[in-house]
Every structure is written in structure tokens, then in C-alpha cells.
Amino acid sequence: MQDLVPEEYKERNSLVINPVKTCQPIGAMYAALGIHGALPHSHGSQGCCSYHRMHLTKHFREPVVASSSSFTEGASVFGGRANLETALKNIFAVYDPEVVAINTTCLSETIGDDIGSIINGYDVPEGKTIIHASTPSYVGSHISGFSNMVKAMIKQLSEKNKDAKTNNKLNLIPGFVDPGDIREIKRILEAMDIDYILFPDQSDVLDTPLDGNYDMYPEGGVTIPELNDTGNSQATIALGEFASSDPAFELEKKHDVKPYTLKSPVGIKATDEFLMQLMKLTGKEVPAEIEKERGQLVDIIADTHHQFHGKKVAIYGDPDIVISLTEFVLSLGMRPAHVLTGTPDNKFEKIVEEMMEDADWDYNITAGGDLFQLHQWIKNDPVDLMLGNSYGKLVAKQEDIPLVRVGFPILDRTVHSYLPTVGYKGAMLLLEKISGALLDRRDRDTDIQLTEFVL
């Protein structure tokens, strides 16, 4: 690492060193796991499927099961139809899922397999559902893969009552977040007495308790009838522009359900906006319990603001979470100096740029960047704190900067997937981590004679 990274930054357009993104299929697989009784299926060679399962297992520390079309050289020449048909036959015979959610890979896309027509010609067993999303690895990132699979849920499953009668529910797309976040969003909705359809829902799928029994299809996940019903909802709230807004717009196009795209509700401002939108759409009140949490959060920030003010931060990871984190640390008086996502999309730069309007310090923003670039930025303009996934740890270690792990993937710490980052509670937990990291650092750097009990 250290031998490799020069201080001087030279623009690279093609070479990626130490990526801050991965490919579409894993996002699609994660989204598919949020459907009840679903087996994600990777239509490609078996390595992809193995890698995705391994990567998700490392982040969630839960079993992740998915099947593969196991392409051979033959399939790559003659097309993958036979492989997919055999695969489906075997899947229903052995693993017996309620739903098979197929994602494509770079291989099957390049060969030109038309999954839609293969499925149409396939005799789907009674009571079973097959959905499919096109997720070539050479387009977008894991975030667009997630979005594409959620879009497939809408496109292929949402229906509208003939009488156009509303179900008085809200659709909610939480984005590429952890089960702990989904639980918090559901808690808020329930506290406000709002009827909802949340999808995809990985809670009770990737955070199941250990009771000595392994269940291949745990109790969690959005059901097919619920997904069918999304066309009758009052509105769709999409949390996160990049992971969730496309499917919400798809539903508007298909069944005229109005979409509202909000930031991932991390921090006070984004959570306020989320709650306000909920109130506006449903006419329901925010209960005293949640309001109290907001007050507590403000109290905590008032008690600790001196720790944060003026501190420089580097934030990297997936676009939705990075955007919300940037807004949050700005509200703490911190200075985002480097803001970077690997997902290529210029919208990201525009959104962050707008947030930084009042910034009177130098900063870098980029979409489609990599960690090598972030490292060079940090060498030139050091920061007090890094916020991002586990892959930043070598940069953090070498530059001696505290790293608070947020986002995906987190491969070297635990419990993150059970607890929220979203909502007021999530912000408290995040504050505890940030403040802890900064003060641990301060204690480490302080001479023992000057070390105090009270900080």
C-alpha cells in the first residue's frame, strides 16, 4: 500500500485502483433476499454467485443462499437457455422456494440471453413466482443492481385493483441499507400508525436469531401479495435517490402511484424531512415518543458539539449513504474535505456540491472515484476522521486517522447490521461512534500527565 501511493495526483480515466463499488448482480441478490421465500438466482458462471454469497455473508455474518446457472463453455457459445431451464427445474425440485429472482451477469448479457422470453416459455409450477432483472456487471454498480431488482418487483408484480380503490397504504423503499435500518423505519411507521408495504425487507432474513435451527427461507421478507398490492397504494416513498427512486418512478408510470424521493434518513435534517413527508401524505401525527427522541438527539449534540466543530472529514462509499452522512456531519459543524463514491453518476456531485454551498474550506467531490484517489487527496489535505466501509482501513492506518465504519461492506466489525444508522436513534448511535473515535484518538495522543477523566 504505502509503497504505491504517490502524493501527486494525476488524472486517471480508465484504470481503477482499490474500488469503492462492486458489480450490479450482488445488489440484485441483496434486494431479492428481501422477498419472502425467495431464492436469488445468478444467471452466469458459478464464480459470480459464489463471490456474491461470500461477500454478503461476510458483511451480515448470516448464511446467504443463492443458486447459479453454472455456465460452461458450451452455454457461452450456444446461449444459456438450456442452463436456465435445467436450473429452474432443479431449483423447484430441490430447494423449493416460493420465488426465484433471477439476475443476469456480464456473461449472460453479452451472449444475449433473453430471460423474459425464456421465462415466458417456461412452465412455472403452481403457486410459484419467477422474476428477473437485467444486471450486467459492466453498467452502473451494485447500487444500480439493487435498484434494477426492485424495479423488476414493481414491473413484474405490482397490480392495480379494477375499481382503482386505494388500500390506504404507503409504499416504502428503504434503499440499500441494513436490516437494523429497516427495523427502525418500520418502528417509526408503526409508531405513527401508518399502514405500509416496505420492500425489499431483509429484516428477519439477514438478522435472524440463533435457535439451533437453520431455515433456508426465514420468516422475513415482503410477500408476493404485498408486492402485487403496491399498485393500490397512496404513494411511494423512495429513500435514497440512487437505490430507490427508479423503482418508485416505475410504479408511477405503471399504476400512477405518486413517488416521493427523499434522502436516506441519516441525521436530524433528513429524518425531519422523512417524518414531515409521512405526516403530509397520511395526515398522521408524529407521536410524542419519536419527538422526544429528536429532543434527546439535539441535547446530545449540544453537549458534545465542541468535539466536532471544525474537524475535517473524508466520506466515501455508496452514494445515498455518503450524501446523507455529508449532510449530517455538516450539521455538526464538521468540514467534509473529501467526498467520494465509486458509483459513476454525475447527479451525486451536483447534490453534494449544493450541500457544500456555504463551505469556506477546500474540498473534493467525485463520483466514480476509487480509494487510491481518496488516499492521494488525504495525503495532500489530511483529515481528522474517515467515514466509510472496511476497505478504507489501510488508508486510515497508514495516515493514522480514526475510521468510523458506516455503509457496505463492513467486514471487520460486528453488530452493525442489527442496529440502525437511520432515524434519530440511528443518529445517536452514529454520534456515539464518531465521538468515541475522536476522543479515543485524543486520549491516545494526550500525555498521561494531561489525561483527564472528564471530557
Binding site: 500500500m1 504505502q2 509503497d3 504505491l4 494525476k10 484504470l15 481503477v16 485502483i17 482499490n18 474500488p19 463499488k21 462492486t22 458489480c23 448482480p25 458462471s45 458459478q46 464464480g47 459464489s50 463471490y51 454469497r53 461470500m54 461477500h55 455473508t57 461476510k58 451480515f60 448470516e62 448464511p63 446467504v64 443462499v65 443463492a66 443458486s67 447459479s68 453454472s70 455456465f71 463453455e73 452455454a75 457461452s76 442452463n83 435445467t86 429452474l88 432443479n90 425440485a93 430441490v94 430447494y95 456480464c106 456473461l107 453479452t110 451472449i111 450486467p136 456487471s137 459492466y138 453498467v139 454498480s141 440463533l210 435457535d211 439451533g212 435451527n213 431455515d215 433456508m216 427461507y217
Partner: protein, 523 residues
């Protein structure tokens, strides 16, 4: 909620599973996974990547969409004593446009960016081909040749399109790339290159230390910060080289003193958790110099010198026997299959090597080493045996040689192996497993999680030995888990390894957590 019909194994899968004592005939193995299977297997690319990636001072460039590079970034905990280029992830990040018009143009640009924009010029670039590159038909050889001419470095394509076979084929592709590298071990230009590199590094250090800093307007703290930064940078430039120098000097001194009597290569060790260094220490102690390690902690220089060795010892046969055979053909170097996993195997291997080298001093030194280390190791194992005897183990690992050595070690510790499977085993491996296990043991090839679950439950396993994907499954079932894969953090070879294995097994099997699952609410 219906549970999967996992105990009704697919008819096609039945030939891949057998129960010792019940079945006549042979297990079916070394085949592609069935379409639709929840297979644990990886691809050709993955095989090539795990074998080749530990070459520490090469640039490993993955030509394909970003995922292939992301998932394999630093996937293996190979330790390095010098350069750490291999720990960075380089990708051409192919996009749609490249798929349509071909990826060769982008690959050329990427190599250009690597060579012209980055500070450290690699001596060797390995270019890994991936699924999609195989389909669109990029001519990696042509690009490589062009780049070699333009930049005077070695650019070696690795033919590892994911779909074109099993992981074993990837091992072969990696071995071919290594052979390619060895083929030019006599080339003078390399020495010139590395001299130039050393000179460049020296100049850079001088330039940085001579540079006067502008401290105007800085307080002391800020000045210190600037100085520290400078120091860190200089250190970083020096460290890699310093370690190499130290090591080379040590080896040279010892050869001169006549300490090393023979030179050999170690194949099929990846220096996970320092395992390669442990083996190297034994060899050094008995008077054997290790020329090159394939590929844990290996440098390009070492690999190029590898043909000067008089013997190859092969630890992981699955990945490296092919290379050993090819080196025998090309350079006339004989090879021995050895294993430092397990006590008896370690002792046998040391003696086997010494006998083969036919050097009385080495033979004596091996006996001295064993006499020195064995009593202590056996004493420690005896303690753990108290905690482990009578437990039942299920094994599901990638390479068969690991499975075989595990069964042997479990037999020694009094642990009964009730299930054993591998992802990449050959027929002869399964024969050996049949020999080693008791009647009733389930033996299976390329298993899926449901099969593992059913057999573990049926056989009442106390611990599963496997890789990362199986860990979560075992825990969910309330069964202990022992990591025997790339990600393991404890060395398992030699005297140290057998004790570690017992210690880790005790730690997981006898953890109080398994009791907590049902106590409390139920009781």
C-alpha cells in the same frame, strides 16, 4: 413455511455422495456443478487469482467488469516480507462501451496509465482475463506483447475466463503464467531494471530529504506534522527495500558460511498466517535454502531464480502439482509431494525431504529438530485431547489434501469424522478418504448447504470445518466452526500448526455459547 426438500437429494447428485461401508464403486467428482445448484464453487478466474495473487511485487490487473476485482481484493491473507503491491486491486473496470467495441483499447490505456502516471513502475504485470473478456474475444497476448515492447516490462496474460472450466483450470492458468515468468530467468535486462529502480528510489529519497520546507506562518505543531509526514514517506520508500536487503544479506552470509547445503523451492504454500515462514524456518534450520516460494511471499526475482533449485516440494498438490510436473519437464527439477499439515505428516515430510536430498548432515539435523520440538508439541496436544476426544466433526473444504490431513489429525485427537467433502477433489483423493474414515462416514463432492445441513444434523456433528460461507450455516445450527480457508488467521502447519488446530478446535467446540442457545427460555 415449507422447508426445502433437502433430504431428497437430486437424482443427479446421488453419484456425488457416498457412505463409507454402503457403496461399492467410486464417487463421481471433478465435474461442473449442476445448473441450479447452490454450489460453493468458484470459477476459473478465482482459481488463477488465489494462486497467483501472492506474488508480491507484481501488479495484478484484472481485465473485466469491476466485480471480479472487488470480490478478490486482498482475499487471501498472504503475508509479505517486502513489497505489498499485490494487496492493491487494479481493474480495467470494463463498461458497456468496451463490451460493444472490445476491451483491448481500454486495456492499452490502463497499462499506459499504470506505467506513465503512477510513481512505481512494476517489473511484471499479470493481466487476468474474466468471463466477459473471453466472450468478446479480446486478444490479451497482442496487447501484452505491445506493452512489453513499449515499456520494457514483462506483461503476462493469465487465461482465466471464468466459465471455461472449474477452479482447477484456473490453478493451471496461474501455473502457466509462473512458467512464463521463469522462462526468462537468465535475461540480463532484469538486473538492469532492478538496478535502475533502486537508483530511482535512492534519488527520490534524497530529493525528499533535501527539500527545504516553507514553515512560514506555522506553529510548532504544524511544523512537526510536516516533518513527520516527510519522515513517514521516506520510511515507506525504504521499508520494502530494507527488508529485502536484510533477507538477501542473511541468506548470502549463511551460504558463504556453508550453513545452507541445498537449495529447493516450496510449491503450493501461500504464506497464510505466516505458514510459509514457519516451513522456511524448519528448512533453514536443517541447512536448506528456499530459493522461491510458490507463491506466498514470493518476489519476481525469486521466481526467476527458481529453476536453479535442485528439488521442488509440493504442499498443496491440487493447485501446484501441475507446476511441479512442468518444472520437471522444463528444468529437470524433481518434485516431492509433502504436507506440513498434521504432526505425523510434518515429521514424515521433513524426513522425506532430507532422505531425498541424500545429505547426511541434513538428515541428522532433521532428527535433531524433531527431537527438540516433538516432546513439547506432544505434551500440549495431550492436554487438548482431554477436551476433544469423542467429539464429532464434519469437514467441507476446497482442496482434498486439506481434507485428508484433517481426517488424519482428527483421528490423532480422538475426534471422529462423520462427514467429509471437498469442492475440487479427484477420484484418488476420495479413495484415500475412504481408507481413512470409519464405516458410516458420509463422503461427498461439491456439496450444497442443504446437504451439509442434513448430514451434519443426521450425524450429530459438533463442529464444521469449512470456509466463510459455511460458517454462518454452522452457527445457525448451533454447531461450532473451524476456519480452514483463505481467511484463517492462525497458522496450521508444522509443530506450531497442530497445536493451533487443537487450540482453535477446543476454543470453538467448548465455547459456552452453544449451551446458551437452549438454556434460559426453555429451562
Amino acid at each position: 413455511m415449507k422447508s426445502p426438500k433437502s433430504n431428497e437429494a437430486l437424482a443427479e447428485r446421488k453419484d456425488f455422495i457416498m457412505t463409507k461401508g454402503d457403496n461399492k464403486g467410486n464417487i463421481k467428482c471433478d465435474q461442473h456443478s449442476l445448473a441450479g445448484a447452490v454450489s460453493q464453487r468458484a470459477c476459473v478466474y478465482s482459481g488463477a487469482r488465489v494462486v497467483l495473487n501472492p506474488v508480491k511485487d507484481a501488479y495484478h490487473l484484472v481485465h473485466g467488469p469491476i466485480g471480479c476485482a472487488s470480490y478478490t481484493w486482498d482475499i487471501r491473507g498472504s503475508l509479505t516480507s517486502g513489497a505489498d503491491f499485490f494487496r492493491s486491486s487494479f481493474s480495467t473496470d470494463l463498461r458497456e462501451k468496451d463490451i460493444v467495441f472490445g476491451g483491448e483499447a481500454k486495456l492499452e490505456i490502463v497499462i499506459e496509465e499504470l506505467m506513465e502516471k503512477e510513481q512505481y513502475k512494476p517489473e511484471v504485470i499479470f493481466i487476468y482475463s474474466t468471463c466477459v473478456v473471453g466472450v468478446i474475444g479480446d486478444d490479451l497476448k497482442a496487447v501484452a506483447r505491445k506493452a512489453e515492447e513499449k515499456y520494457g516490462v514483462r506483461v503476462i496474460p493469465v487465461e482465466s475466463s471464468g466459465f471455461a472450466g472449474t477452479k482447477s483450470k484456473g490453478y493451471k492458468a496461474a501455473c502457466e503464467a509462473l512458467l512464463n515468468l521463469m522462462s526468462d530467468f537468465k535475461a540480463e535486462s532484469n538486473r538492469v531494471d532492478s538496478n535502475k529502480k533502486a537508483a530511482d528510489r535512492k534519488n527520490k529519497i534524497k530529493e525528499i530529504s533535501d527539500r527545504s520546507e516553507d514553515y512560514t506562518g506555522m506553529n510548532t505543531k504544524e511544523k512537526i506534522r510536516v516533518l513527520q509526514k516527510k519522515l513517514r514517506y521516506i520510511n515507506s520508500l525504504q521499508t520494502g527495500k530494507a527488508i529485502d536487503d536484510f533477507k538477501n544479506k542473511k541468506i548470502k552470509e549463511q551460504v558463504e558460511k556453508g550453513k545452507y547445503r541445498k537449495k529447493i523451492n516450496l510449491l503450493g504454500d501461500y504464506n497464510l498466517a505466516a505458514e510459509g515462514w514457519i516451513i522456511e524456518n524448519y528448512l533453514n534450520e536443517v541447512g536448506i535454502e528456499l530459493v522461491a516460494r510458490f507463491t506466498g511471499d514470493s518476489s519476481i526475482k525469486d521466481i526467476r531464480r527458481a529453476p536453479t533449485a535442485e528439488l521442488n516440494i509440493v504442499q498443496c498438490a491440487g493447485s501446484m502439482k501441475y507446476l511441479a510436473k512442468r518444472m520437471q519437464q522444463e528444468f529437470g527439477i524433481p518434485f516431492l509431494e509433502i504436507s506440513f499439515l498434521g504432526l505425523q505428516d510434518s515429521l514424515d515430510s521433513l524426513r522425506k525431504i532430507a532422505r531425498f536430498l541424500d545429505d547426511q548432515i541434513i538428515i541428522n539435523k532433521v532428527e535433531k529438530l524433531i527431537a527438540r520440538r516433538l516432546p513439547d508439541t506432544e505434551a500440549k496436544l495431550k492436554i487438548y485431547k482431554n477436551y476433544l476426544a469423542g467429539k464429532k466433526a464434519a469437514i467441507y473444504v476446497g482442496g482434498a489434501f486439506k481434507a485428508i490431513s484433517l481426517v488424519k489429525q482428527f483421528n490423532d485427537l480422538g475426534i471422529k469424522t462423520v462427514m467429509v467433502g471437498t469442492q475440487n477433489g479427484k477420484e484418488s483423493d476420495y479413495e484415500e478418504l475412504k481408507e481413512l474414515t470409519d464405516s458410516g462416514t458420509i463422503i461427498l463432492d461439491d456439496a450444497n448447504p442443504s446437504e451439509l445441513e442434513v448430514f451434519m444434523r443426521e450425524k450429530g456433528a459438533d463442529v464444521l470445518v469449512g470456509g466463510v460461507k459455511d460458517r454462518a450455516l454452522a452457527y445457525k445450527m448451533g454447531i461450532a466452526f473451524f476456519d480452514h480457508n483463505h481467511e484463517r488467521k492462525h497458522p496450521l502447519v508444522g509443530f506450531e500448526g497442530v497445536v493451533n488446530l487443537a487450540q482453535e478446535l477446543d476454543l470453538t467446540i467448548n465455547s459456552p455459547i452453544w449451551k446458551a442457545i437452549r438454556s434460559g427460555i426453555d429451562e
